[in-house]
């Protein structure tokens, strides 16, 4: 039995711009298996967000197909399949006019999930990230780390099988970022979601993932898929593992090789 649950085949996205059509990504092909934790790494502008937005039903691809489970979408992902997906944005993207509780019930309302079971789930998730006390607060009353935690659990509230995360911790300071990375790992271990995680931080991708997709620009495409064979649960000490350093060298090498000579190093 095949347990592939996300698949992209020959996907291409062309943006119409003032200077003419811009091919953002081309010939994107990959398959993600159930309970995989896949990271998508690559330089800025290589089309990471484009790919994840197509997967999340935000953008329609120009060509190619997206398949979730056994359902194929050739012109944009839509419909009830979206209730099986949780999307985490780069900025927390909470609605400032809704309390934390109301923000968390938004997906439930849209997906028409009501009842005590779901109410309880909101409480459990709040407890999991230690923010029960903020249930009735407004987003502006939370620190940016707390806001991002809420952003993550909002994507989990309707109990989706798949989590799509577009540089979810990119805007946070490195300490909070590390903390949230480990929180995410423990969530993944507990709930066994299938995760696609975007980052342009190579170390982050190795720490978290079971597989890393490396992308290159011009045109945006996936150049390599690397299995990360490191023991779990992973802790900070993983970076001493010789295989970790090997993976890091390989991935960084790939990115540099395809980046060209005149590119400037990015943090």
């Amino acid at each position: 039995m095949n347990d592939t649950i996300i698949k992209m085949q020959d996907v291409e996205k062309i943006y119409p711009t003032k200077k003419g059509p811009l091919v953002a990504v081309q010939d994107v092909n990959f398959a993600i298996n159930k309970e995989d934790f896949v990271s998508l790494v690559g330089p800025s502008g290589c089309g990471k967000s484009t790919i994840i937005r197509i997967l999340g039903g935000i953008l329609d691809q120009t060509r190619g197909t997206v398949t979730y489970f056994d359902r194929e979408f050739s012109s944009g992902v839509k419909g009830d399949i979206l209730s099986k997906i949780g999307f985490v944005f780069q900025s927390h993207n909470l609605l400032p006019w809704l309390s934390i509780k109301k923000n968390l019930s938004l997906p439930l309302e849209i997906f028409k999930l009501s009842g005590a079971k779901w109410e309880k789930r909101i409480d459990e998730l709040l407890e999991m990230v230690g923010l029960t006390a903020y249930k009735n607060a407004y987003p502006a009353e939370l620190s940016s780390g707390m806001q991002q935690r809420i952003g993550v659990i909002r994507a989990l509230v309707h109990d989706p099988e798949i989590l799509l995360m577009d540089e979810p911790f990119g805007s946070l300071d490195s300490i909070t970022r590390e903390l949230l990375n480990f929180e995410l790992l423990s969530i993944w271990q507990k709930t066994r979601k299938t995760i696609l995680f975007i980052t342009h931080n190579v170390e982050e991708s190795i720490l978290l993932s079971s597989r890393v997709f490396v992308m290159a620009t011009n045109p945006g495409r996936i150049i390599e898929a690397i299995d990360i064979d490191l023991p779990r649960p992973r802790t900070q000490s993983i970076s001493n593992d010789p295989r970790y350093l090997e993976y890091e060298a390989t991935i960084t090498g790939l990115i540099d090789q395809f980046r060209g000579v005149d590119a400037v190093e990015e943090v």
Binding site: L95, I110, Y138
Partner: protein
């Protein structure tokens, strides 16, 4: 605690300014012996207001108030609704906006005589004046609000597969509220101004009419008393809108 101190200061500051103006005005009028027909003293204005409110002014005050409120109550929902519709259909917005701006920038005073030519001197003309003046500001501000939604918030709704209506209710509308309230506040100010203008141009009732009427008889104190009542209406309207806004918009961005 701190917050409370501030709100007390917010309240005290304008009161203090009022007292300063009141005392200087009173002093200047008395020291320079300015004749009361030219510039009455504030004490006399208030006295005249209290003495004459019931017999001479109250009926006109109520007429003006009713006209403003009627026009305002019609203009607010209409302006918001028009703004909502136009913001969702860009072509409509493009087609109509230039004319709305013309309507906003044309001084109402030039239109009122025309309205009166067609509709007579009754209160309906004045209500029409309020509506013509208030709807466009409310509408334009609402459009700005409805168009100012962050793209990522709309993307959130798309990722949830929300309908256009759900997106409007959950995101576009609440996001627009602070702009909408700016429009409503301006609409309130414009309503007051346009009713008074219309009353000055024609008819025999209302505070605007009384200002002209009393000035004609050199009853300057009474004319000032009427102006004071107009100010009272304007300030009360603006304050009430502010209170409603602060109860509706409880969040910070």
């Amino acid at each position: 605690m701190k917050k409370k101190d501030f709100s007390r200061l917010n309240f005290l500051a304008p009161v203090l300014v009022f007292i300063v103006i009141f005392i200087s005005w009173e002093t200047i009028v008395n020291v320079f012996h300015i004749p009361r027909q030219v510039l009455p003293s504030p004490v006399n204005i208030f006295k005249s207001l209290f003495d004459n409110f019931i017999p001479l002014l109250s009926s006109h005050f109520l007429i003006t108030l009713r006209t403003i409120l009627t026009g305002f109550v019609i203009a607010v929902p209409t302006g918001i609704l028009l703004g909502a519709v136009l913001s969702q259909y860009k072509i409509l917005e493009k087609a109509i906006s230039p004319y709305v701006i013309i309507l906003v920038t044309t001084p109402l005073i030039v239109l009122v005589p025309l309205f009166m030519l067609w509709l007579g001197f009754g209160t309906n003309v004045r209500i029409l004046a309020v509506i013509a003046q208030a709807i466009p500001v409310i509408m334009l501000n609402s459009i700005t609000g409805f168009n100012s939604v962050e793209k990522t918030k709309l993307e959130l709704m798309e990722s949830l597969g929300a309908t256009k209506w759900q997106t409007f209710v959950k995101v576009t509308f609440p996001n627009a509220l602070s702009h909408v309230f700016t429009g409503i506040t301006l609409g309130g100010v414009f309503s007051t101004i346009s009713v008074i203008s219309a009353e000055i141009v024609g008819g025999k009732t209302g505070l605007g009419n009384r200002i002209i009427y009393f000035s004609g008889f050199i009853e300057t104190e009474l004319a000032f008393a009427c102006i004071l009542l107009v100010i009272l209406i304007g300030v009360t309207l603006a304050t009430s809108i502010g209170v409603v806004r602060d109860t509706v918009i409880k969040w910070k961005n």
